[in-house]
Amino acid sequence: MTEAAVEVRDLVVRYGDFTAVDHVTVSVNPGEIFGFLGANGAGKTTTIRVLCGLLTPTSGDVRVGGASFADGERAIKSKVGYMSQKFTLYNDLTVEENLNFIADLRKLDRPTYLKRRQELFDFISFDQSPTSLVQDLSGGIKQQVSLAAALLHDPQIVFLDEPTAGVAPASRDRFWHLIRQLAEKGKTVFVTTHHLDEAEQCGRIALMREGKIIATDSPDGLKKTFFPTPVYEFEPKQPLPYAELGSLQNHEAFAYFEPYGLRFHAALRRPETWDEVRPQFENKFNITSIKPSLEDVFIRAVENGL
């Protein structure tokens, strides 16, 4: 078995009385796309900041690319690439100046840097002038240049903290295409995101709530864990009054009943009784059997706190 790219055991981060990360244990292999999913403040960013060497953990073992905090956080920093959720390039500098600056900070020698830069420009299909100011680029392109900046020193492990926040859907697709390519090249990619359709593309996902990982599995595995019984989609034949929604959500037949766009997703408390229960809803809803989505998992696990 190959050595894990990232190995975390019992990671704890406290700010005073507040425990931001509470005994997190996770192991990620090279070439994996690993997602962190959780509400705001669940501890995703804090965990990632520790793994990038930006934050010293209160306790716990952390090994990133073979380096640990005992080797100094700069040993970790040299192993990883990090793209934070805020846009981090300098708007008043050109693309070239931004990348030069990072290359200087990472002490890349000139030939290596220039070769690497060209590779990355090819990788992100950057077709504009390297001397254009970052502020003149579109949001999607900026994001890709940001990714290139994080990859400049050819790290084996990349952390992307909400990389697609505020980016148009077409650019998001393109960005995920790049992420998959990275994983195919054997790089380990950590991603946090609020877009659950994006999370479906992760190999495995850690669901976080209040600083704890409540489940780690593939998207399908998570769906099976949280919805072991069939899930149905209820499509109202006529718009549903708000009061009626409340009574449905509290209906004894359902263990789960949540809006999903204009429709509803439901799971039963006792699946064996479905044939008896079903007729009373069929006059108001078109009911189909579906696979649960990650959004269902997220609502059930993170928001409803199951």
């Binding site: 930006l54 990090y82 846009f87 200087d104």
Partner: protein, 373 residues
């Protein structure tokens, strides 16, 4: 495990900072335009010498003696005399601010003098404008001395005479006094304001995360960030010095190296203060206000630049001790006008050194605590 300080990284930060400065018209304009503007405002527009004070004269005596007294006021270039019809009109002129002072000579002024009873005339001063009262009452007593000599026949000659000679600035030219101090004001604005903005800006737009995710060290960031601003500060200083010497003809009798040393110390203190603010504020708006409040305000008001430290209330006099400007102004004036040596300026230099190292220590510690994981 410790990592060595790497110059090339610090210089990479410095280079990037130069790009920022070059692309930001506000910074450039502030750095180059401000010294010019300050020198013009303080050197040309503001004249602390009080001249041409409007004086309303009511001469009810109308004798040779009284006219000679009025003439003495008139011929000194301090007063601009105009005649009022009555004592009441003269004092009304002061009330209506047509005059800053009034001279009222009673009837029988000459006769009283001749009779040996001693003549008396009245001076009314506009006490609402305290900046005028001090100098003008000084002029009045000077003129009185001259006048009693000119009217000497009638009054006993005083047995002694006080003659003042002003050392170091014989003409009491306020520009000589103000412009050396101006260097510190320019320095305060440039260094504190610009540096306090520079790191706050990194926090604000999230690029601090990018910096921190690389192996760059806090000290490398500080050195890199400060280098361009230190250079700007030094250029501005040289600029003010040049203008002071050439355009305003301020003499420089001291040792230039001593001035430069003081300048460097003061600059370093201000840069450290800027960094400290920047790290604490993390936001350009707040940083700017803190820079104004903690830097520019005391530099202007509590340094002796305009208001002499010695005439401040005790509390403020003690408070000035913590402002580098107070010490640097002492050094600047000492070297420009008096030619004081390093030894004579030992006190200010010691104080500046202490302030500088204290501020540096505080800034670096604060910065490290914030940045190191």
């Amino acid at each position: 495990m410790t990592f060595p300080f790497v110059w090339s990284r610090a210089m990479a930060v410095a280079k990037k900072e130069v790009f920022h400065i070059l692309r930001d018209p506000f910074t450039l304009a502030l750095a180059l335009g401000l010294p010019v503007m300050m020198v013009i405002v303080y050197g040309v527009a503001i004249d602390f010498n009080i001249e041409n004070v409007a004086l309303a004269v009511s001469d009810s005596d109308q004798t040779q003696t009284s006219r000679r007294l009025v003439d003495t006021f008139d011929s000194s270039h301090y007063f601009l005399v105009h005649h009022a019809v009555s004592p009441a009109a003269a004092s009304q002129d002061v009330v209506a601010e047509r005059a800053k002072a009034a001279l009222i000579i009673p009837p029988r002024f000459e006769k009283d003098l001749l009779d040996g009873r001693g003549g008396s005339a009245q001076i009314l001063l506009d006490g609402a404008d305290s900046s005028v009262v001090g100098p003008v009452s000084g002029y009045v007593s000077g003129i009185q001395t001259i006048a009693s000599k000119r009217i000497g026949n009638f009054s006993p000659t005083p047995p002694y005479e006080l003659r003042s000679r002003f050392l170091f600035n014989p003409e009491l030219n306020s520009r000589w006094f103000v412009i050396p101090g101006l260097t510190v004001v320019v320095m305060a604005i440039l260094s504190i304001l610009l540096t306090s903005l520079t790191i706050a800006r990194e926090w604000e737009n999230g690029s601090m995360e990018l910096l921190l995710s690389t192996p760059v060290q806090p000290l490398e960031i500080i050195v890199g960030k400060l280098t361009p601003y230190a250079a700007l500060g030094i250029i501005a200083q040289a600029f003010v010095y040049g203008i002071a010497r050439t355009i305003f003809g301020v003499p420089f009798v001291g040792n230039l190296a001593v001035l430069a040393l003081g300048c460097g110390l003061c600059l370093a203190t201000y840069l450290a203060q800027g960094i400290f603010i920047s790290v604490t504020a993390r936001n350009q708006q707040v940083a700017m206000q803190m820079a104004m409040l903690s830097g520019m305000l005391p530099t202007n008001l509590l340094s002796g630049f305009i208001f002499p430290v010695a005439s401040m209330p005790l509390f403020f006099r003690i408070l000035t001790v913590i402002f580098p400007a107070r010490w640097f102004i002492a050094i600047a004036r000492g070297t420009f006008l008096k030619g004081s040596s390093l030894l004579q300026l030992g006190g200010p230099f010691l104080a500046l050194t202490l302030l500088c190292s204290g501020m540096m220590l505080a800034a670096t510690r604060r910065f490290k605590r914030d940045l190191e994981p």
